[in-house]
Amino acid sequence: MTLDRFLDYFQTFIPAAWMTLRITFFGILFGVLLGIIFALFRISKYKFLTWPAKLYIGVIRGTPLLLQLMLIYFGLVNIVMIDRIPSAIIALGIHNGAYIAEIFRGAIQSIDRGQKEAGISLGMTGFQVMKRIILPQAFKRAIPPLSNQFIIALKDSSLASAVGVKELLLHSRQLASSNYLMMEMLSIAAIYYLVMTSILTFFSNRIEKKLRVSDHRA
């Protein structure tokens, strides 16, 4: 394959890459939202909150994303019709939400008990302590595992090809089925994934470094 032809093919991946980015972005956004809510439910002292959180996390982590995706797109068809793209976003969101909930829970519980005690000793309410003392420290601790989860989400978005979302993997397979260049097309998709995951890693390292300001010792 000449370089010219390679570049021609390479260009046609741009809309598909954009689609990958979009479903990943909105999927993660939804997932972070669910993650925060269910993490707080999970550590709550009320059983009627911890119980649904445990169920959600258990069921979602215990079943494959591909199955969840198909269940939402094909399985719910008799109850509610959800389009391909929203289906992919919802599935990615719900799936990652369970993992992100566990990441936040771990981060919150890793904050020394003395921090809470110092806060309530000042007369702060439980809500104030959570918002002002615990969560800011927990978010910082959650960044490395979160960025790891975001990278997994980006790669997992390729499963959306199974319900016909025209993202990177589906596009490469469709191209290859007409030009018989399977190796080449898959390799181009791989390059796109690598570039995107590298950018994600770069930014998460930057944020981590920036947030480390208060840890510098004299």
Binding site: G114, A118, L122, G123
Partner: protein
């Protein structure tokens, strides 16, 4: 001689803290076995005892960081239980200093001191900063206002923690082994700040192993063992002429 001559003579019912038959257990382990304790305004009470004697637990119960199963705690005439509403408003009156400082690592020294003022006392930032500067001045930490806790020594951290508690203008200050986590050369600066507070008339309950401090500053020394108050009295009485053999044994080990 105690630093203060503050009269320990007191009338019934004007105590700052009144504790009656306070009991607490963790499962089958009884940590506090019916503690009775009164603390008068401006009194400095030092609690000594071996680890596991329940002295820290007692202190933490006064601030409701631990839930006692039995007994009552009355602070300034108001009887408080764990079920009381607005427990956080009562805690506001009681300053607490911890063994491990528990400064907020994501906030500068100044923001540590003014956090309670802004969140709990709803002061404006300007007002809070002004008071914060005064508090840091008091503990000699003005020059470190804008650094993070990770950048200062243990002794400095504890002085900031004291400033943070004092900023709330508490009526009572509780110290839970405030110097136990410090390198020996840093203990003095913290004790010095505490001594100043005692002289100013702050009501203080201090759990410590610093017998020199107890002898010099305390109005009353309490010896605890196995969840009970075994002996109490002036520093002279307890240190120089202990009546109970458990107190004698404890003191002979540490002095």
């Amino acid at each position: 001689m105690p630093l203060k001559t503050a009269a320990i003579i007191k009338k019934q019912g004007d105590e700052m803290i009144e504790i009656r038959s306070l009991s607490k257990s963790y499962g089958k382990l009884k940590v506090l076995k019916g503690i009775d304790l009164d603390v008068a305004p401006s009194e400095v009470v030092v609690i000594i005892g071996a680890s596991g004697s329940g002295k820290s637990t007692l202190l933490r119960c006064i601030n409701f960081l631990e839930k006692a199963q039995k007994g009552t705690i009355t602070i300034e005439g108001k009887t408080v239980t764990h079920k009381s509403k607005n427990l956080h408003l009562i805690r506001k009156e009681v300053g607490m200093v911890f063994q491990h400082f528990n400064l907020f690592p994501h906030m500068t020294v100044m923001n540590n001191v003014i956090e309670g003022l802004i969140q709990v006392k709803k002061m404006s930032r300007e007002e809070a900063l002004e008071l914060g500067r005064a508090m840091l001045e008091k503990v000699g930490m003005s020059d470190k206002a804008d650094v993070y806790p990770a950048m200062i020594s243990g002794g400095q951290k504890q002085r900031v923690a004291i400033a943070r508690a004092l900023a709330m203008n508490p009526k009572i200050m509780l110290f839970d082994e405030p110097t136990s986590a410090l390198d020996p050369e840093l203990v003095g600066e913290v004790l010095h700040v505490m001594k100043d507070l005692a002289v100013e008339g702050m009501t203080m309950v201090v759990v410590t192993h610093e017998m020199g401090f107890a002898r010099e500053v305390a109005d009353r020394v309490i010896y605890m063992d196995e969840g009970q108050i075994v002996e109490q009295g002036t520093p002279e009485e307890v240190f120089d002429n202990p009546q109970n053999e458990r107190t004698q044994a404890f003191l002979s080990h540490i002095i």
